[in-house]
Symmetry: C2
Subunit: 454 residues, 2 copies
């Protein structure tokens, strides 16, 4: 599936629109903003993620010769247009919320200011990259809130929607506070810590479970975490305890056991007791298997003696909400504010900034959605990311994004840290912005009424 | 995000297990089968898809030098093991259901027979590729059943979980009966027909809506489908009708209009009347916006005059069910049947075949899950795909897979073609298979009871 970074990774309509834009000389500066219209039913906030991949995409955007030839052969485009595409690069400005920023509905997380054809073409991939990682970071944040202080690891690669989803989900989960992932390529690509030891098939391939454990302990240099639910969980736990004692003189240490089925809380309690009574309180218990934030909360609140969790399918598919109602909308063209008024989908026009206002204790009080250059109070969340196609926001380590997300979640009003839906956070719409929206409406209504063919 | 076809696209535990397998000389032949444990709540059948990408992956699997160096630096693996990985290729056999085959829970859709380390390593990516495309093809099949005879187009790229998901979703949707996609790269990669014309931003970038339509009509060589809901849908429809009349002498034809918001059935009726009364019955109505199989069924049953539908987010995320309960399980190692008995996750051991038995009218009557070489009746669904690492199943055009899916859906009992959950299709488990499972249980119970350290 190479190459994935193709400029053809877009919707056909971007290209057909571009043909008209070029033909009609519509190359004035356009302003598009990317935002989430409404928070999903069970989300009180979102965590921005995916900006690094979005900027990489904009920096390297170009059509390859073979792609241009293929397009030319479609019978849809003029020769002049294909030449325009050959020369097309992204030359614009980008402002964005740094990754890990906590944000809310209707707040732009990214603004593109560029000649209309460029700003239009990139819509599909920008939504694709930013929505997905933001969605996963937001889901992962809920797991972190549900299991504070526990080790959380992404186990989702196999159930992710393809390869890129698996890689980027691992990255997004770490931004939100996960410790690491099982996905080896995410480790090599993003420097994310890797976790994982054995599967049921490994145990089954041995004629005896205990032989599988001994073989593993004697051939590994990394952590030894033994999967104990292939046949009988408690019997296996007792074997592990005996084994740990036996192996100690060899300088080998069993680091943990993993539970992957059945009543995890019940098994964890029994296994903890078996290990402790055999003198192995140092052996940790790790659990996996159909976990999500609700199950984590239940296990943690119930006091299950589980030290870490592998969260897979539900995390990487954001199972209860596998998409965000995200949009990338034209807010201004040729210096004039624009606004869509389609039923249920109207947008705020103009170039906007999001201001975050804190209370005396440093907690989040409210945000203000305002026109750029208008109201100013608190902290401006949109920051310069690219200027004239050059990256001006430094590439940050994941640890920095992780800290930002952690600080953001800690500053949230208590009610918004709950898994249940709460009274929404206040996002005020500044008066200047409301006035512009009214002006745009008046103008487009007049234009529609006065418009005629030609 | 290149390259996506890396051998590192796997879970860490595959590599740690392999280290033990190599060290202990566990290179006997292993048999793994991939299947779906349970049908999701609202699915009566599934449609197999993704085999071509799975076989591509197996054919080209290898570790690059820089990947091996990176792994060597982890401190987890021995030098000998890294050398083993350097030499590792997939050398095994694969049997699989051809893409487009309708299938049910517990039926293997792919079997891998290969030396244990190879068969183990590929687990993650095989599940990742086959689950995703199968899930999307199965969701798309429901849309096809809900809107028989209508043009269905995938619009989901922007909301797909990354690039690969967008591309493979387009492919899977076409296998299930969709006409095409908006994703340009899917067109160039898979030869899928492309659809799409304009977005709201295009209309908004013009000062007048009608100017946007005229510009478009005069600069496009492909189909002219005009988006009419940016401001006032019916007013725009009237403009389109006048425009179509005006442009006719220029040899220009308006092919259709698109509705993307509001009450689609109501708008479609009003727009159809406006167009017809203006003498333009040839202008088609295309609808999009938050569609899924239930909305399609409602619109079609309600008689909404809509000729085609763009289905996006709900299709490419399989929104009501964004994962399948798929598994890739060891069924035999070194000639001995294997079976996992973890609570709620037990599997059928041995190499299996799925037999499909039809009634006199050619409809599906029942399937039989049997050991290979055991019971034989009807049609064998698993067919040879690779032998000793060489592809033996011919690469088929998507049209052939589409025909297979269409025939399969047409042969389903009527109740299984409904969107609602129905009485399940009968999959009989052959006696020989039950006997083997009992034998494996007896052996592993004895081994567990008799097992001891060393």
């Amino acid at each position: 599936m190479n190459p994935i970074d193709s400029a053809l990774l877009t919707d056909l309509y971007q290209l057909t629109m571009l043909q008209t834009y070029f033909d009609r000389g519509m190359r004035e500066i356009a302003v598009f903003e990317l935002f989430v219209r409404r928070l999903p039913p069970r989300r009180n906030f979102l965590v921005a993620a995916g900006l690094e991949q979005a900027l990489d995409y904009l920096e390297t955007l170009h059509f390859e010769d073979d792609e241009l030839r293929w397009l030319a052969d479609r019978g849809l485009f003029t020769r002049d247009f294909i030449d325009e595409l050959a020369a097309l690069r992204f030359t614009g400005d980008v402002d964005a919320m740094p990754e890990g920023t906590v944000f809310f509905a209707e707040e732009p997380i990214l603004r593109v200011v560029a000649p209309l054809p460029e700003a239009q073409l990139v819509e599909t991939r920008l939504i694709n990259l930013l929505s997905f990682q933001t969605m996963i970071a937001s889901k992962a944040a809920r797991c972190v809130l549900a299991a504070p202080g526990r080790l959380l690891v992404d186990f989702g690669l196999r159930r992710a929607h393809g390869a890129e989803a698996g890689l980027l989900a691992a990255r997004a989960a770490v931004i939100a506070g996960f410790a690491g992932t099982s996905a080896v390529l995410a480790g090599s690509r993003f420097g994310i810590p890797l976790y994982g030891t054995m599967a049921h098939s490994y145990v089954q391939a041995h004629d005896e479970e205990v032989a599988a454990f001994v073989d593993f302990a004697r051939t590994q240099s990394g952590p030894i975490v033994l999967l104990i639910d292939t046949y009988d969980t408690e019997a296996a736990a007792a074997e592990v305890a005996r084994l740990a004692t036996r192996l100690r003189p060899e300088g080998l240490r069993v680091d943990g056991v993993r539970l992957d089925s059945g009543d995890l809380a019940d098994h964890a309690r029994k296994v903890r007791r078996i290990l402790d009574e055999a003198g192995h309180p140092e052996i940790a218990i790790f659990a996996s298997g159909n976990l999500d934030e609700w199950r984590l909360q239940e296990l943690v609140r119930g006091g299950a003696p589980i030290d870490g969790f592998g969260v897979g399918t539900d995390l990487v598919t954001s199972a209860d909400c596998p998409s965000l109602d995200s949009a990338y909308k034209l807010q201004e063209y040729a210096g004039v504010g624009r606004r869509k008024r389609s039923e249920g989908k109207s947008t705020w026009p103009g170039r906007k900034q999001v201001w975050r206002v804190r209370d005396r204790a440093g907690g989040l009080d409210h945000d203000v959605l305002a026109l750029e250059g208008g109201a100013r109070e608190g902290e401006a969340l949109l920051q310069p990311a690219m200027r004239a196609a050059r990256r001006v926001m430094a590439r940050a380590p994941l640890e920095e994004m992780k800290r930002r997300a952690s600080d953001g979640m800690a500053s949230l009003p208590e009610r918004l840290r709950a898994l249940e839906r709460a009274e929404p956070y206040e996002v005020r719409v500044d008066d200047g912005l409301r006035r512009l929206a009214a002006e745009v409406d008046a103008r487009t209504t007049a234009a529609a009424a006065g418009g005629s063919v030609e």
